[in-house]
Symmetry: C2
Subunit: 242 residues, 2 copies
């Protein structure tokens, strides 16, 4: 017979998967990178883990994810989305339910926020960015959590503007294709990609061009009039309270 213990023996934590796009030399695929935090105490001392921490009793879930992410890495994405609640009995020595959030951030935002974090004197040596495709064995079930996040991202890229999270307000079609290539882990044919995007009506051309070593490339922006998958009822009711 199952021994009934108190519900209060269960603890609630939050963790966050922060993904950014890592540019690569022309011959290589762009990739996704994410920050991990070195664990300085047991369990799993010396292993890398997702940024996170305990939920406070008077703190909303997304607030806790934003707070613990900022405390450990200095990062403050404008928007966090709930990914999944991981709660297998054996995932931690004590019973811990981890509510995991995720966000996509632009690499220039990462650079600026990380520099500010270092300048503020907080311990940057415990934070390191890893290529999502070549992670070491992480603490707890965090490899599984990241596998799930990457799978959701690959699925979602087909029916939402999720790749937008990696891009500035205006971008070239090559920028967008690079984001898709990193998410899907494969090269896409530039001409086919252009055709698909142009027929989807999700992008609007601007009158601006990016110039540089190549021929000028037109800048596009997302067409906000096209309603894609968004947060629905949660957008209003679960917004961050601070």
């Amino acid at each position: 017979m199952m021994t009934r213990t108190r519900e209060s023996d269960i603890r609630v934590a939050v963790s966050t998967v922060i993904l950014t796009l890592r540019r690569a030399p022309v011959e290589e695929l762009p990739s996704l990178a994410l920050p991990m935090v070195l664990r300085t105490r047991d369990p799993h001392q010396g292993d890398w883990a997702l940024p996170g921490g305990w939920l406070e009793p008077d703190e909303n879930l997304e607030d806790a994810a934003a707070r613990t992410l900022h405390e450990t890495t200095g990062l403050s994405p404008s928007y966090l989305e709930q990914l999944y609640a991981f709660g297998a009995v054996d995932r931690s020595p004590g019973r811990v339910i981890s509510i995991v959030y995720w966000a996509l951030v632009r690499s220039d935002e990462v650079d600026a926020q990380s520099a500010a974090h270092v300048a503020s004197g907080l311990a940057p040596e415990n934070v390191q960015w890893f290529d999502a495709a070549t992670l070491p064995a992480l603490a707890f079930d965090h490899n599984q959590i990241i596998d799930y996040a990457l799978w959701r991202l690959r699925n979602k890229v087909g029916y939402s503007r999720v790749a937008h999270g990696f891009l500035p307000p205006t971008f070239t079609l090559a920028d967008l294709r690079e984001a898709y290539e990193a998410i899907l882990g494969k090269r896409l044919d530039p001409a086919n990609f252009r055709r698909q995007v142009e027929t989807s009506a999700t992008l609007l051309p601007t009158d601006e061009f990016r110039t540089g070593s190549h021929r000028p490339a037109r800048l596009y922006r997302y067409n906000n009039a096209v309603e894609l998958a968004d947060r629905g009822p949660l957008a209003v009711d679960e917004k961050r309270t601070r």
Copy 2:
């Protein structure tokens, strides 16, 4: 400054949104229905609430959802999917995180399981099925939870075989259209619907027909070779343990 209390002041519950299809006379739209349980104690005594209960420390999340659903309603869907973790600070008098699961069940399964529940002598008077479109004010944030579930279902029907959950292994195109109409809350043109389904390759015709008062209608089944949105990595790692 925030008063820090122990993480163990936070309790974890599970709830489940069980949706089924309710047929309607020809002139009316089919609708979605779900079971609610009458609360017999405070908070919210006398209000209707989603089936659910406390998570046990040695119980996986989906197991807890299946157990509490069965204890209260007698229902045992073959598959529960995690919907979302609701954790706003003010959603309950004490701090309660509710991990919500959902499932779609066929009305004939509901009828058989409900009858068995009643025959076993368990209290059926505290369970009632409601039309999802005309719910009363429910306990806690359960109206919001159901709004979110319905919104996710409407979104999901466009890119997955989710409507399958309402249907037996073989079904007519009219059956499938009826499921879509209930989910989307609007009539669909039968000829357009047939064309869209036939070009999507997600259905396979069988050699069987349903006969009755109308002209014989061909039975179809889902084409399992077409990979649509599924659970990905979670299908293996978070399966139910009993």
